[in-house]
């Protein structure tokens, strides 16, 4: 059994923490583009044309059934191949981060279309009518009345998605991305994995507190956004983070 060396744990910890920047970069980019795709999919789902509805539900089903590892490989190897020619060559030159962002945007697109639906349904229908009745345009009603309430409703799920993304993104080391896990593996590989156990401990010490902090952060954000529910709040927490509510 390898000896656990405190010095090595600190070494891996301090060297890998800066790579959190990469992690947050793909999390933020994928969240933004994923939500845009999700909005589009939601729009297609509620479209009056059957073809759009079929495409949207096909997209969600297919993404839901694909392991993120397989999707990551498909995007990484497949995009340049499918594009072909000069475009393909240009795509091959792009940084790995781009492919990771594309993959996770596709995933978030599927789960966020459900989130958007749930968040919209939770906003009482009268709110929209009330907005229209005071003379706002439908865009104004959406931005000033519906959107703030939707964001509020979606906060717990957004939190779950961010945490899930950070963990799933660790898979991207398989295509060579140097996020936290990738960086630690790269460093460990240079030392012939002689201190692998110390590296695992360092990684646990990064990921575990990070998730706990994020969980707390989103819980207090939800708390801050829903002042009128504070009295009943303890009832809501007891359910714990919603399992299976957003699937990537």
């Amino acid at each position: 059994m390898q000896k656990i060396s405190i010095k090595k744990i600190i070494y891996y910890f301090t060297k890998s923490v800066p790579a959190l920047g990469v992690t947050f970069a793909y999390v933020i980019i994928s969240m933004i583009f994923g939500t845009l795709i999700g909005a589009l999919i939601y729009r297609m789902k509620t479209s009056k044309y059957r073809i759009f509805r079929i495409i949207a539900s096909l997209y969600v089903t297919i993404v839901r059934c694909t392991p993120s590892l397989v999707m990551l490989f498909l995007v990484f190897y497949g995009l340049p191949l499918l594009a072909g020619g000069e475009l393909g060559e240009w795509l091959e030159e792009l940084p790995i981060l781009t492919f990771v962002c594309i993959t996770f945007s596709v995933f978030i697109g599927a789960s966020s279309s459900e989130l958007i639906r749930a968040a919209l349904e939770a906003v009482a229908k009268g709110q929209k009518e009330a907005g229209l009745s005071v003379g706002m345009s439908s865009l104004q009603t959406f931005v000033h009345v519906l959107l703030p309430q939707m964001l509020r409703n979606a906060t717990p799920n957004i939190g779950n998605t961010v945490i899930l993304l950070i963990k799933e993104g660790a898979l991207a080391y398989t295509i060579g991305l140097r996020d936290v896990l990738g960086q630690a593996y790269y460093l460990s590989g240079r030392e012939m994995n002689a201190y692998a156990v110390s590296m695992y401990i360092a990684l646990t010490l990064i990921y575990w507190p990070l998730t706990i902090i994020l969980e707390r952060l989103f819980a207090s954000l939800e708390h801050a956004l829903t002042p009128w529910e504070r009295k009943n709040r303890h009832k809501d927490i007891s359910v714990g983070p919603a399992v299976g509510e957003c699937n990537i």
Binding site: M1, Q2, T61, I62, R64, C65, T66, P67, S68, L69, V70, M71, F73, L74, Y77, G78, L81, L82, G84, G88, I166, K167, E168, A170, L171, Y173, L181, A196, V197, Y200, L203, T204, Y207, W208, P209, L210, T211, I212, S238, V239, G240, P241, V243, G244, N247
Partner: protein, 240 residues
């Protein structure tokens, strides 16, 4: 480079031959993690002293770390620990010759147990306390009440989430290739790597996963329908 359709045609049946390994991983991991998950849910629900904080810490740790990391830790550290334990016991079993699929079962069960525990706890919370008391009042013992009255209702409530857990687990088995278990993803990696046709190989895996999971979801829908007879209030009355 062009997409090689011939390669896809040849590789698909080859990779499909490894579906039993994937299903094996899913089934055994579920069999390990379901009883454990129910136990953990019960411990958390009843807030058992000492045990409940331990279970909570375990759940937080597993939820807080990536599955890849868990897999690496299990795969690289358990053999050492096992070997040193066996050495002390004076056994001459060589753990390094153990089939790596055992480590895969273990690693995949870790996170599945946590999600099942969460689903079952939410399920238990939907069961009215009066149900338990009603069971006791007609003379059933506490374990009998649990088994015949509370548990079926909790399971019914948790079923949709459990279906999701099974789907997530199936997707997670794609990581087993890290532990040198050749299931469909692992086979695709080997086939694709040999001739540098990764994309075509992964297209096959992609198709297979969609088929497997689509069938699984249909099965779960059937189970849900069958089990819904336990749901209180269906047709306005309890039918058990």
């Amino acid at each position: 480079m062009k997409i090689d359709y011939e390669f896809i045609k040849e590789a698909l049946p080859d990779i499909a031959g490894y579906i039993p390994v994937t299903l094996n991983l899913v089934l055994v991991s579920l069999l390990i993690s379901f009883p454990l998950g129910v136990l953990f849910a019960w411990i958390n629900y009843k807030k058992v002293r000492v045990l409940s904080p331990v279970v909570k810490a375990y759940m937080s740790l597993i939820r807080g770390t990536p599955v890849v990391l868990q897999i690496y830790i299990i795969y690289n550290i358990t053999p050492y620990i096992l070997a040193s334990i066996l050495e002390k016991m004076g056994s001459d079993v060589n753990v390094y010759r153990l089939n790596t699929i055992w480590y895969a079962y273990f690693a995949l069960s870790l996170s599945t147990t946590v999600t099942i525990a969460e689903a079952m706890r939410a399920g238990l919370e939907t069961v009215n306390n009066g149900q338990f008391e009603a069971g006791l009042s007609i003379g059933l013992s506490a374990p009998q009440t649990l088994w015949h009255i509370v548990f079926p209702q909790a399971l019914t409530a948790a079923m949709p989430v459990l279906g999701n857990v099974a789907v997530e687990l199936t997707k997670a088995t794609s990581l087993a290739f890290i532990m040198a278990v050749t299931e469909i993803t692992g086979r695709a990696k080997v086939l694709g790597g040999g001739v540098l046709r990764y994309f075509e190989a992964y297209i096959c895996v992609f198709i297979l996963y969609i088929v497997i999971i689509a069938i699984m979801e249909q099965l779960f829908k059937l189970v849900e329908k069958r089990i819904s007879i336990y749901r209180v209030g269906r047709h306005g009355s309890v039918r058990i």
